[in-house]
Amino acid sequence: MASSFAVKRLQRELIKLQAQTPPGITLISANDFSEWHLDIRVLDDTNPLYTNQTYRLRFTFSATYPIEPPEVVFLTRAPNGADPPVLNDYPVPMHPHVYSNGIICLDLLDKQAWSPVHNVESVCISLQSMLTGNRKNERPPNDADFVRSNMRRPRDISFLFHDEKV
């Protein structure tokens, strides 16, 4: 799927992640070079929103990675999970920039603000810090509409990044 360029780079990252991950980040599965799953945890225990919660991230890499950003969403359910399926196998963190279907509105993951020097690890750390800094127990304002009507992949959505505080 991915080009040799992307594969080389991902292989490098994977070996590093398998050897060691930063605190609060766990590599769950990376069976190929197109989709990886990682768990993140907010390390700040004083933040009541995320205490004792683990969130599962899904990274989807294109052939142009790392020139173009990976697609990163919070998983809401296991891909081959329980039968009958349980909605929301995994929690999606409450955050004004995270939709309840797991789509993340973060400029880092957008084409414009993405930089090839970022990697899976740095994205995870950024998301950790994004959650850590948040105290608002809310979803984005148009969450319900968006979740119901969205049929695009995150990469095709043109987000408007307005909030400089996050």
């Binding site: 080009s3 292989q11 050897a19 769950i28 891909p79 399926p85 119901r148």
Partner: protein, 541 residues
């Protein structure tokens, strides 16, 4: 975690900065690891190939930064705008990377040996530490800290003049007395015996390279003949092999043919300054050497970089022509042609900057790889179901959860809207195989909308039928909905029944289209506006 490694093996030639952190983060290991890290491109993570410096003084591989600049136009590190024409080769980094790659395996081997030696030493110490328990506590610590770092530094010793900071005793011993050196470090005469057996083959290889004024020779980069370093440049003017070797940019890397480090550093320093200046194609009047003639004669005809195109101004045929001129494939949509051209320009211009330009054939091979992985022949995921060898059963098994989930959601919604006959189908009838992975997520919202619009009790039956129709295939459903919406736009509010009739009428009326409607203008009638014949008008001049 265990499963994650199964699909992918670590390649044999894989290297990473972490290689040096094998025995924890000792200060030296950290420095070496950092050293390794700074010789790697931030984008691809490999050692720099053709290190290229940007206007904002960041260095990347030539191809990496060109591709990144094509994509976003800014520097990946600080986000400053990148002018591709301002990219320059970074000679110093080229040299550093070449040297580092060369000494890296030796360094690692040395560390490894030091470790095994240390283990042996500790074993040898065992009986003694039993008799002197007090000394045993301090003793192992001494070799670990000074010995391992001392040895690794020892190799740097030949390269790095800053090594004066080393403990005095390390420097005071001659290069041919490894055993004494070792003995002194441990401060035990007992060790001397055991060291003698293996010390020479531990420390000998690097010591051979040690600068020795009597033996100091340098090889001619063209004919490999050895001579005094000072003579090399004069010799080059008359060297017979000179014409055949176009650019002896780097001294030969092989360790045996290598000149002493002293001579080497002199040579490379001269070489790099020459190269960096000659990159501007300005002849150099360097003090003290006579290489000017050689450089000019030897430099190959310089390739010219390809300029970027303004794709918006080009039509598809003209863009196709441009690609043909460059000798690359010109099939596909305009968007694909643009992407292909962009990549080729990056590839080509990288090659222009290259020290040893690759052959056009190699570039074409790269283009083919690109074509397979990212270009027109790339398999993109949504098309999985369109593949010839698409496995329907696997696909439906893999997505079964999602489908069932969607069905249950749809059922719940239908129950909520209290439709009398909530028509549901057994799951196995769903033609899942024709559904691209993206669409199932669409379905709930879509059903919700259709339920909302299909209100009115008289309409239930027909809407119900429509529903059935709709669910036959998503593609068909979408088509139907599209037709409906356009129809709704055209024939604004009427009762659904009338609307349907109207629709049918319309279709029967129009197909085949009657000739009456097609010609609305009477045949023999002059048009209202006077006709102006532009061909013969004088005004056009």
């Amino acid at each position: 975690m265990a499963q994650s490694g199964s699909a992918m093996e670590v390649p044999a030639d894989f290297t990473a900065p972490e290689d040096f952190l094998g025995d924890g983060r000792t200060p030296l290991a950290t420095v070496l690891s950092d050293m390794d890290r700074v010789t790697r491109c931030m984008i691809c993570g490999e050692f720099y190939t053709q290190p290229t410096i940007t206007a904002c003084s960041h260095t990347y591989c030539a191809l990496c930064i060109r591709q990144a600049a094509t994509n976003t136009g800014v520097c990946p590190t600080d986000g400053k705008k990148i002018d591709k024409s301002a990219l320059r080769k970074n000679w110093v980094v080229t040299e550093v990377v070449a040297r580092w790659k060369e000494c890296r395996p030796q360094l690692l081997a040395l560390i490894e040996r030091a470790k095994t030696l240390e283990a042996k030493l500790l074993e040898a110490h065992e009986p003694m530490s039993n008799s002197e328990p007090a000394a045993a506590n301090t003793e192992p610590a001494l070799p670990t800290s000074t010995e391992s770092s001392g040895r690794k530094k020892r190799q740097f010793d030949q390269v790095d003049p800053k090594n004066a900071a080393q403990p005095r005793r390390l420097r005071s011993f001659g290069p041919d007395k490894p055993s004494i050196y070792y003995k002194e470090v441990n401060g035990e005469s007992v060790l001397h015996e055991s060291d003698d057996e293996h010390m020479p083959d531990v420390l000998d290889p690097p010591l051979e390279d040690k600068f020795d004024p009597a033996k100091a020779t340098a090889a001619c980069p063209c004919c490999n003949e050895r001579m005094k370093p000072e003579e090399v440049f004069d010799h080059l003017d008359f060297c017979e092999a000179n014409g055949k070797a176009p650019r002896p940019a780097l001294p030969p890397p092989a360790s045996h043919a290598q000149p002493s480090y002293h001579a080497l550093s002199k040579q490379t320093a001269a070489g790099s300054s020459r190269q960096s200046q000659s990159s501007n194609t300005a002849p150099l009047t360097a003090p003290g050497n006579s290489t000017k003639r050689r450089r000019i004669a030897a430099s190959p005809p310089r390739l010219q970089p390809i300029g970027q195109l303004n794709y918006n101004l080009l039509t598809l045929p003209s863009l196709r022509k441009k690609l043909n001129e460059l000798g690359i494939h010109s099939n596909g949509s305009k968007q694909l042609l643009e992407r292909r051209h962009r990549y080729y320009v990056d590839l080509y211009n990288t090659n222009v900057d290259a020290d040893e330009p690759r052959k056009p054939k190699d570039l074409m091979r790269d283009m083919e790889v690109w074509e397979r992985t990212q270009g027109g022949m790339a398999k993109s995921k949504p098309n999985e179901v369109m593949q010839k060898d698409f496995n329907r059963d696997n696909y439906s098994a893999a997505n079964n959860n999602q489908f069932k989930d969607l069905i249950s959601q749809a059922r719940a919604k239908m129950a909520a809207t209290k439709q009398p006959k909530a028509e549901t189908r057994p799951p196995e009838n769903i033609p899942e195989s024709s559904t691209p992975p993206g669409t199932p997520q669409v379905a709930p919202g879509y059903l919700g909308i259709s339920n909302g619009t299909g209100s009115g009790s008289t309409h239930v039956n027909s809407s119900h039928k429509e529903q059935q129709q709709r669910e036959t295939t998503p593609a068909k459903a979408m088509f139907i909905s599209a037709v409906e919406t356009t129809n709704n736009d055209l024939y604004a509010p009427r009762s659904p029944r009338a609307q349907q009739q109207q629709q049918q009428q319309q279709w029967t009326n129009n197909y085949p289209p009657s000739s009456q409607q097609a010609r609305s203008i009477p045949m023999f009638q002059l048009p209202g506006d006077p006709i102006k014949d532009f061909d013969y008008s004088t005004e056009t001049k």
